[in-house]
Symmetry: C2
Subunit: 375 residues, 2 copies
């Protein structure tokens, strides 16, 4: 279950390693259904370094997610599937060009997430879902693994790019986290692009909202409100040529979430964490569990304190702790050697990575799609 | 530097152990001034168990803080000092009576923090400080170490007892964290006591606000806004007779904080964490650093993953990591054996603990006050 993407060497031999043997996977999927999850799948990529060249220019790497959930081929049109693959690849290339040019991981993370916020396919920015009150309230956070500086906004309604508002909080305020109108007002003061609330209205999310509202009027509030079948939170973790890691996450939250609900995405330590000494992490899933388990920080702690490798740490949390609690979701992570991990306990997760040696791969589902989706 | 308060036996031999030798303390205080902290002091209490009685009724323990900062005898009137000591002792006794009666640690934590929220001596509830906008915006969180359930509210303006709103979020919503008007509105729906915003006006905090406002108008915004000389956040961690740990924190935040600023107090993993498997923690200090370092969770991680004892874990974070970053503050913590830790890197911290064997102590400053303040 080794997972290494070494950036030092130039020649790479790609391998695909799956987390579960096929037979075991069926058993685990059955168990998963019993505990309320759709399926378990853990995929580990390994591009084993075949040689090292100490004088080579330092590498870089970037990994993204666009949400985890019941993402299965049968429930997705070919058109949608192609659109997701295209968009994921497009934003990977955007980040790659910046990192190749020597730009910082923070810049790349912000730019990649902005591009995903502009795309209505994802539940962030333009594609944000609706709250129970029929509004869009967005959350985002960003963290600099070199300095441990961080910024976050929660419940913003008018900032076109919540991730940039989070970065402005980090860079231009004495605080780490601003919420609500105070955060919108700060973003405006900082000269960020402000849009009318109806900018965030999309037909697809509005229909989701109306459907979910109808469902919850039929069901009791207790039963209806905890459901978590929406997905589309976006995240990015990058390592730049200076060896600095940054991580960011942006979301519209849960469809039908209560007014004022804050999930894990804007919480440093829960949805996002970055520390050059261990790794960078961005999460997606049932946010309440990710908060209770301090998931992003926990992965760094397992590396720092228990000496786990990146992939061991992510798997231990996502396939161990979270699975045991019935908590659906996934994480992307990346360490300073450029090892990349994308682990989820749901049927699928929109995801991909790109590295300095030219490896770029995009995946939606739990199966091995590497050969067709890679470049 | 052992620190144990065993609950199993009945006879205890109290000891006071200081974190720094007197000479070293002077050196460290000088270093502290250089790095922008007023002084370092670490105090560890030890009541070594002299015998064990396996058939004895299980014990309990409760520890509180009322904020850390430049709390020094010279800057405090005798009257104020007596008032703090009296109040700390009073709320310890309140929690103790509940735990003695077999009530849950969650109930005790909520009741103790409610009592502190009612007292204008502390920066929580009735004594909350003012934001830059001249309003009171309060944060609170609570966590159940048995189930890892948690609840938090941020930026509430009308709930008389923010800690009870946090508990209602935990018990009666599908979410962990609610912010702003959504949180106030939820608290009202839940039948919690709602008060007009001017309930939170106190002359002392208003004068602080006016003074700080004047200062910040003189200084540039950058310089003025990061200062952290206010204190008074409250917290409580308790262990009940069932062996369950709970922790909670409540605050008015920083004087002159920006509108919408969320500190560490309502963030599970930063200001508050509880896990029966390791310990419960409540923090106070410069919240931005406590968020970036996921302080409360980090202490549990050091115990779980690195095998540190409670006191080693709290000291490592507060006197190591936070001190190195120039981050002022302190923590209280308690593990399931009833070991209690109260560690801070500021001049003082309002604090105290009480245990089933009748030990009760209250402290304000960095020095050894145990003999006069204990019962």
């Amino acid at each position: 279950m080794e997972s290494k993407v070494s950036l030092i060497g130039r020649r790479s031999q790609k391998q695909m390693a799956f987390g579960w043997l096929p037979g075991l996977q069926v058993v685990m999927a059955a168990v998963a259904v019993m505990v309320g999850l759709s399926a378990f799948a853990a995929v580990a990529w390994a591009a084993e370094d075949a040689g090292s060249a100490p004088s080579a220019r330092p590498g870089w790497a970037l990994v993204i997610h666009g949400g985890a959930g019941t993402i299965v081929p049968d429930a997705m049109s070919e058109e949608d599937e192609a659109a997701y693959r295209r968009k994921l690849r497009e934003v990977l290339d955007l980040g790659a060009a910046m990192l190749e040019d020597g730009r910082s991981s923070l810049d790349a993370v912000e730019a990649v997430i902005r591009a995903m916020e502009d795309c209505p396919l994802f539940n962030a920015g333009k594609g944000a879902v609706f709250t129970a009150a029929g509004t869009n309230e967005m959350d985002a956070s960003i963290m600099d693994g070199r300095t441990l500086d961080a910024g976050a906004v929660a419940g913003v309604k008018t900032v076109k790019h919540p991730i940039s508002a989070a970065r402005a909080v980090m860079g231009h305020s004495p605080h780490v986290m601003l919420a609500g109108e105070g955060a919108d007002s700060f973003a405006a003061e900082q000269g960020l692009e402000i849009v009318p609330p109806d900018y965030f209205w999309t037909e697809r999310r509005w229909k989701d909202y109306l459907r979910r509202k109808e469902e919850s009027e039929k069901e009791s509030r207790e039963e209806g409100s905890g459901s978590n079948d929406e997905h589309g939170t976006v995240g990015c973790v990058a390592l730049d040529r200076n060896g600095d890691i940054a991580a960011g996450t942006s979301t519209g939250g849960m469809t039908m979430k209560m007014w004022g609900r804050i999930g894990d995405s804007p919480i440093i330590g829960a949805g996002t964490y970055a520390d050059n000494a261990s790794c960078g992490v961005s999460c997606t899933g049932h946010g309440e569990y990710f908060i209770r388990n301090a998931v992003a920080y926990d992965i760094t702690a397992l590396m720092k304190y228990r000496g786990l490798r990146l992939e061991e740490a992510t798997r231990s949390v996502v396939l161990g702790k979270l699975k045991d609690q019935g908590a659906a979701g996934g994480v992307i992570a990346l360490d300073r050697e450029g090892h990349v991990s994308m682990v989820f306990n749901t049927a699928g997760m929109f995801r991909g990575f790109i590295t300095a040696d030219g490896t770029a791969q995009v995946f939606l589902f739990g199966e091995n799609e590497g050969e067709s989706a890679g470049n």
